[in-house]
Symmetry: D2
Amino acid sequence: MVVKVSIFGMGLVASHYIVGLYRLKEGSMKPYGVPLAKYDLAVDFLEEEIVSVYDVDTRKVGKSVRDIVTESLKDVIPLPSSLPETEVRKGLLMGSAAGLDKLFPVSGRDQEIEPMEAIEEIANELKKDSIDVVFNLISTEPAEPFRSEEELLKRIKEGKASAAQAYAYATYLASKDTGKQIAFINLIPTPLANDPVMVNLFAETNSLLLGDDGATGATPLTADLLEHLAERNRLIRFIVQFNIGGNTDFLALTIPERNLMKEKTKSSIVEDILGYDAPHYIRPTGYVEAIGDRKFVAMDIEWITFNGLVDELIVNMRINDSPALAGLAVDLARLSKALMERGVKGTCYEVNAFYMKNPGPKNAKNEARIKAYYDMLKYLKELKIIKE
Amino acid sequence: MVVKVSIFGMGLVASHYIVGLYRLKEGSMKPYGVPLAKYDLAVDFLEEEIVSVYDVDTRKVGKSVRDIVTESLKDVIPLPSSLPETEVRKGLLMGSAAGLDKLFPVSGRDQEIEPMEAIEEIANELKKDSIDVVFNLISTEPAEPFRSEEELLKRIKEGKASAAQAYAYATYLASKDTGKQIAFINLIPTPLANDPVMVNLFAETNSLLLGDDGATGATPLTADLLEHLAERNRLIRFIVQFNIGGNTDFLALTIPERNLMKEKTKSSIVEDILGYDAPHYIRPTGYVEAIGDRKFVAMDIEWITFNGLVDELIVNMRINDSPALAGLAVDLARLSKALMERGVKGTCYEVNAFYMKNPGPKNAKNEARIKAYYDMLKYLKELKIIKE
Amino acid sequence: MVVKVSIFGMGLVASHYIVGLYRLKEGSMKPYGVPLAKYDLAVDFLEEEIVSVYDVDTRKVGKSVRDIVTESLKDVIPLPSSLPETEVRKGLLMGSAAGLDKLFPVSGRDQEIEPMEAIEEIANELKKDSIDVVFNLISTEPAEPFRSEEELLKRIKEGKASAAQAYAYATYLASKDTGKQIAFINLIPTPLANDPVMVNLFAETNSLLLGDDGATGATPLTADLLEHLAERNRLIRFIVQFNIGGNTDFLALTIPERNLMKEKTKSSIVEDILGYDAPHYIRPTGYVEAIGDRKFVAMDIEWITFNGLVDELIVNMRINDSPALAGLAVDLARLSKALMERGVKGTCYEVNAFYMKNPGPKNAKNEARIKAYYDMLKYLKELKIIKE
Amino acid sequence: MVVKVSIFGMGLVASHYIVGLYRLKEGSMKPYGVPLAKYDLAVDFLEEEIVSVYDVDTRKVGKSVRDIVTESLKDVIPLPSSLPETEVRKGLLMGSAAGLDKLFPVSGRDQEIEPMEAIEEIANELKKDSIDVVFNLISTEPAEPFRSEEELLKRIKEGKASAAQAYAYATYLASKDTGKQIAFINLIPTPLANDPVMVNLFAETNSLLLGDDGATGATPLTADLLEHLAERNRLIRFIVQFNIGGNTDFLALTIPERNLMKEKTKSSIVEDILGYDAPHYIRPTGYVEAIGDRKFVAMDIEWITFNGLVDELIVNMRINDSPALAGLAVDLARLSKALMERGVKGTCYEVNAFYMKNPGPKNAKNEARIKAYYDMLKYLKELKIIKE
Ligand SMILES: NC(=O)c1ccc[n+]([C@@H]2O[C@H](COP(=O)([O-])OP(=O)(O)OC[C@H]3O[C@@H](n4cnc5c(N)ncnc54)[C@H](O)[C@@H]3O)[C@@H](O)[C@H]2O)c1
Ligand SMILES: NC(=O)c1ccc[n+]([C@@H]2O[C@H](COP(=O)([O-])OP(=O)(O)OC[C@H]3O[C@@H](n4cnc5c(N)ncnc54)[C@H](O)[C@@H]3O)[C@@H](O)[C@H]2O)c1
Ligand SMILES: NC(=O)c1ccc[n+]([C@@H]2O[C@H](COP(=O)([O-])OP(=O)(O)OC[C@H]3O[C@@H](n4cnc5c(N)ncnc54)[C@H](O)[C@@H]3O)[C@@H](O)[C@H]2O)c1
Ligand SMILES: NC(=O)c1ccc[n+]([C@@H]2O[C@H](COP(=O)([O-])OP(=O)(O)OC[C@H]3O[C@@H](n4cnc5c(N)ncnc54)[C@H](O)[C@@H]3O)[C@@H](O)[C@H]2O)c1
Ligand SMILES: [Mg+2]
Ligand SMILES: [Mg+2]
Ligand SMILES: [Mg+2]
Ligand SMILES: [Mg+2]
């Protein structure tokens, strides 16, 4: 059973996902970093196929995927002998371009035609390509959830929705027209799986909207560390977490509105897990190109232990940022397909809770990943997605 | 419902447990560091009462508990206005004295009378005092499990059993004679809850043997960190963990046979959680008096992530060693009582899995603490020990 | 020989300086943290006396020094039995108030009378009090050096000079009128010892202007670490340094213009010591009140070693911010007095190079502290300020 | 002016030195990690030539240098197109073989012929090859200094001297017979430059004995960190330093007598630099093969700052162990030659103080490296070895 994948945002995460997938296909690599690789799943990741790719960076639009990933990864990891030749198509800018053009030259279809027309064009392409799964991997953007379907339509028509919202809407349209289930996997902070208006649209077409913001790096680890401390009833005095990297994702976060979005999804864990809002400072902190994609994380946590004494935990990490998310993507494409086949629609908390920094639906709790993992395993076994 | 407690080993952990308990009783402190303090438990920790205390350090035997804890903690934490006046009684040396006398002057009843006689003396005292719960908090000792009840009897008679084994046996005798359930909580590495021979004796008297080795410090954290990595299918290249402190527990571990015992209980988590024996170096590393009880831990873990790239995690901690275990003790006394009342006997994996470094029974898996915690909560709720 | 001291900015550093000095006077503390305490100096620190103190925080103005330091430090360190009763006088706001009033209520003499008049008032007080040494310890402020004495006068008259510049000018005036040498020790980032116009004024009155920005915390350590690496001809790939604290100094740095000032003085070391501008990110990173004055620093340095391989150094610190500077102040007051007596005027690179983040005069090199220390020792011995 | 080099101990450091030298010769690498590379030195490192190599590992003896370094480094760094073809000659085992044969099969000339005969054989080879500089890079060995020349002769004849002592003596003999100056550079802990008996022999032949134990890794950094703290008169409460690696040097240090030698040279800095013996734990801590040559270091230092408050510094490093020493070797060969030409004989503290962990002569102080560096620069400039 083939899983046809479309990707919005042909950046470093997309590159790692594509290269990794094709190395797995040719058997030259073990699936480390793919959480469920050790289980026998209803859908094998080898069934995933890259069908279409979209971007707004004018240096990428029109180029082949092969050329883009070769350029960005040839000095970093061994490349597979075959790679998709697909040409990168032009995407949408919508309301979220702000500041992006300071980083690189951009252009979007909505600059030439009406926003709704541009969205329909993309919906038509998703239909024509028989896409099963859409990955949203565009640069972090500022965005607000919709309060109603009317507001959604209004903001989309006026070009004031964000690009991610527009892509999700295009996916909904494609699925509505054809009756084919299509999953939209939102790996960036834009609230989509946390937006009831959006989730309802996907429920309507028996499709799935997973999100928001892939849980890699320091955030899920922090969740487990806080849980570890909370389970011993230690009182957190403060937690600080710094993050610095040199990839374009960090560069984009130097634009203040974009940074804000990350801070939101990263900080929600504190209160959700501890039950109180311990003093904290958790946010992407800076950009130094020479650090590259192997970001540096520093964390300091102080707490009160038994008898009122103070303990301290300092964590430092050097982690490859983009491969971490790419490894999750490998699971998420096949999981979405398997879930939709079993009638799961709207969004799926059990999966989001493990894979996402800000798991939808709205107001759903951000819990320890280790707990979320075992709950998910149970859920997937009951649905027979994991075979025992 | 009063929980009458006897303690073997009047060291720093015992001191923190006693001081903390009396501060909680007088209401001058919040129960931070007591894992289940936020739940409504069948037995309140305020019911715990220190009835008798044993040691072999001649400087402590005959002194009042109040004087000992005052001396060791008066410059560290506020002391409660009331503290037990009980005199420390002389314990047993048995086969585990080796090397201890280089650290401080020791003497045991088994130096004056036959081992079995001495054990029976202690059993009689436990009976007379109507003890419900015995804590084993003596210095780490070298010890081997028994292979049969005969071997047990033989080694005990010849004085070749370890002191911890002798105390556990004395507890069994007390309970057997009176029919009263008595829990023995083994917080040191000696394999007791991991020794089927011992566990059977306790099952026979409807009593409980919990253990082994209280899970504080770096080990349970390492368990959760390894689980976190394993759930993402990352391949651990190596893990190293250093530990250095300045309390007498670390001093005792400079005696090689004693260090070995710790290494065993600390290293078992690697294979149990990862499913393979990743290269590791995990052990108490040294003693520097000036560090005191706030030990320093350093950990380095390297793994392979998606696309074969290498990530690294470094953890440094400064943690108050003894209060951490004292906080667990507060829970364990009341839990034991509640469990025995509900007919749980022998040992109890669900509780050991969270509270112990090397959870009994023998061959039971060492699993992630976060998983063990949720499994334990479910178990305690089913038994109505945690009221909802 | 008494050293009469006036302090501008009655904050945490001033509090620690005063408390420490009086504890030293009463003999209840060893002079740890005072660099030259182990040498026999021409002027003993016990000669330092607090004569006047200025602030603009309306909650402090009019209060006694004793009450202010008692309030801020009574739970932190033992207080000496005697403390100065002096009342805090109202200072100047000038051009540097921007944003400060969001943090606390402020008021300055220059709100009531003309700037120049207010400055003269302060100059008169310095004269009347026979001040020898002025410490500038006000909140970090945005400020630009003067290009000429005319510009200085113009900006001062129009109230556009910064408060630190105004205080330095007042000190100059006091000294000019009386012929008495007065040292101005600038412990904040405002370029004063780096401003040739200012330095010339002090040279004119045979007085001394030391600065800028006291070298405590991570910056001088970074200087020595970079020197250590440079001496082995390692190529620095990048250096990042984060800093977070919870004192009002960090709070003030959340105001962007103020943060910028710190970044400047902190980053200059990289190129000065390495000889090339290695990629870096060095700046105060945030404010979390619960961290208090014991700030958290994280640093990551990567370099290329022999045969092109990559090494990494990670540094984490928890350091008491304000006492560190207070310890330097103890030396600087007596050194200034001794230097002026020996005819040193204008500024003094040899001393600045060790004690200051951005040592004046302008364009003077920021060098490794260990080198600066030995060069300073030699200099002070030649001047017979350190007796051998 | 060619510098003819002979190496004893064809291990990882020797491999990195040789590969690096030939990459420098072919111009395919920058001399990072070679301390004095940025200066114009009297002798260029391109003049260094590998003439002979000795080992006792039977798997290496008889093999070509090219094959050995290719095998050990081909997956680690790019190899130069040309490498020495010299065959590794059999060395001496002497009294220092203890335990080595548990690690690999060994054999030495002194197993076949009398010790003194074997030494003379090697001396003759050094003469025949016109060697200028001998590097001692054999595995760390237990060894005691000689108390007199008689004792030296006695222990050598009885085969009870260590291998390093025997090699140094062979070098002395070669130089004595021919009148040619030959430098012996001892990069391991055996006290040679710290042994007055040995140093006298070299002085007698106008030759140079540099040592002991190359200063790489955490030790010289610790020296500079302690100096940094001492210069601020902070009181060190304790310092701990752990070291773990996976190269055969770390493997050899798991043999207790060998570990002891390292502990000695590593700990001497504490008292030398601080002036008091702060509580410390500094030693190679363990061996985990998977860590390879990029060792992990963890350090924790606590001190008392102004007003009696406690600060803490934690350092973690991942450093390539062997290239670090190889980079120093590049300098040391040419420096020795230049020094001997200028009449420096016996040993040379100015050079040892920077390059060695335990700088000779005996009782010479271990000082901060940054200080030692500037003192050495001055010294080398006066001798016109560094041209200005
Ligand atoms: N571990 C991780 O890397 C991680 C974790 C969580 C979330 N994320 C998120 O994933 C996203 C992708 O990360 P990345 O490292 O690949 O970033 P990247 O900067 O390398 O790639 C982003 C790509 O999106 C393109 N883009 C921007 N706006 C677009 C639009 N409107 N339409 C189509 N394409 C657009 C950019 O041109 C760029 O090619 C980011 O939003 C990031 O925050 C990454
Ligand atoms: N976080 C922790 O502190 C922690 C965690 C897990 C396990 N433990 C274990 O708990 C035990 C107690 O730790 P501590 O810090 O209180 O140590 P400690 O050294 O302060 O106290 C041990 C006490 O036991 C006494 N003792 C020794 N042998 C005895 C015997 N045969 N009979 C009676 N008393 C005896 C000693 O005299 C001493 O008073 C140690 O074995 C330690 O390994 C501690
Ligand atoms: N280690 C260190 O703490 C360190 C190191 C280098 C520099 N500094 C600098 O020293 C200064 C003082 O640090 P702190 O921790 O005491 O800060 P603080 O915030 O505790 O104290 C600053 C005081 O200055 C007062 N002030 C502000 N503007 C003033 C004005 N115009 N006139 C008179 N008073 C004024 C404030 O009201 C406050 O009382 C800061 O500028 C800081 O950047 C501190
Ligand atoms: N940064 C560093 O790597 C560093 C720093 C200071 C000192 N050192 C010292 O340098 C030495 C070499 O380090 P390495 O990493 O190359 O070690 P290594 O184990 O890779 O090499 C040592 C070599 O010496 C040989 N050897 C042992 N005994 C010998 C003998 N009697 N005669 C001749 N050869 C003998 C061994 O067979 C081996 O080939 C060690 O003693 C180490 O302690 C290394
Ligand atoms: Mg990324
Ligand atoms: Mg303990
Ligand atoms: Mg401050
Ligand atoms: Mg080595």
